[in-house]
């Protein structure tokens, strides 16, 4: 019994999630007209940033591992 996802799968998932979160936070921004969805927009943006950083970190890890292997 092991976790069925590999590093590359998680990488792709993080990228997709970061894009969705950024688009959502941008669409709900009060700068584009007041939204009636009452969520904490600042926190949504923070979550998007955190996921993006995780994705970028995974990209860096991948580059380093490729350089070392090459």
């Amino acid at each position: 019994m092991s976790f069925p996802l590999e590093f590359s799968d998680l990488d792709l998932w993080l990228a997709g999630t970061a894009i969705i979160l950024f688009l959502t936070s941008e669409m709900l921004s009060p700068l584009y007209g007041r939204s009636n969805i009452h969520i904490n927009n600042k926190r949504l943006r923070n979550a998007a940033k955190a996921v993006l950083i995780l994705f970028l970190a995974s990209v860096v890890i991948r580059i380093i591992s490729t350089v070392i292997a090459g």
Binding site: P4, W13, T17, I39, R43
Partner: protein
């Protein structure tokens, strides 16, 4: 009487539980599809917990709560015969720099006391020689909120900074939908559209000592911010609200101060 439970509150734990089960099953059956589903559900369940809305107050309730103190203030000032315009004073007029007060002179066009004279009487409400009253601005707390959100003390910034950042701040705080701010010489014009205080503005238009003098909490908070940034006393020269209260146009005037006493 039983309070109704909010079904929206049950969504995040339900998603989180479903995600956890899917993740556990994915490990058991070595299924990557189940793992993706589980990961997504756990993430969004957690995220929904995190981005839960802040508590909102209904606009009608806000109006009903904010209006009575302003009506009382108007009655007191009308009763005392104060008809001059309120002057929002910058911090240098007080020994306590956190003070945010408005000065009303007993006579129209009377000279504003110097900072030194004001500092001697800053804890009093009724002032003598010249006669006047000193009250805390209704926008005092709102100005503190502006400072907290901008992450700076407004005494450390200038008018250009306010012109650039105040409109964005008011929109970010969901106080208004659109804000414009322009300064020319000794005047600053602010146009606010879709403000949350539109109900209050509509009502206090009838209060002679408040509208266009002391201002509603929002107008007064902007006057205080201007006073802090420019270091000059500020008067609300004009305050015009459209019929439905949607558009608010305010003109602020920066006062020239009395010359400092020679020692």
């Amino acid at each position: 009487m039983q309070l109704k439970s909010n079904p929206a509150k049950l969504v995040p734990p339900a998603i989180l539980s479903a995600g956890s089960i899917a993740l556990a099953l994915s490990i058991n059956y070595a299924s990557s599809i189940l793992a993706f589903i589980g990961l997504g559900l756990v993430f969004w369940g957690g995220l929904l917990f995190y981005i839960r809305p802040e508590r909102y107050v209904k606009e009608a309730l806000l109006d009903k709560m904010a209006l009575p103190p302003l009506v009382s203030l108007n009655e007191i000032m009308t009763g005392l015969g104060y008809k001059s315009k309120g002057i929002h004073l910058p911090p240098k007029y007080f020994t306590n720099f956190e003070s945010a007060k408005v000065y009303f002179s007993a006579e129209n066009n009377a000279k504003l006391p110097s900072p030194e004279e004001m500092q001697k009487n800053e804890n009093r409400v009724f002032l003598k020689n010249p006669d006047g009253i000193l009250i805390t601005s209704p926008g005092f707390e709102l100005t503190e909120l502006f400072e907290k959100n901008l992450g700076t003390n407004l005494t450390k910034v200038d008018l250009q900074y306010l012109e650039k950042n105040m409109p964005k701040l008011l929109i970010d705080l969901e106080i208004a939908q659109k804000v414009e701010m322009h300064s020319t010489d000794s005047r600053v014009n602010v146009k606010i559209e879709g403000s949350i205080t539109k109900g209050i503005c509509k009502e206090i238009g009838r209060l002679s000592s408040i509208c266009g003098s002391l201002g509603c909490p929002l107008c007064s908070s902007i006057a205080l911010a201007l006073a802090k940034a420019t270091g000059k006393p500020i008067i609300i020269e004009k305050g015009l609200a459209s019929e439905d209260g949607q558009i608010l146009e305010i003109e602020y005037r920066l006062l020239e101060e009395p010359p400092e006493k020679t020692r």
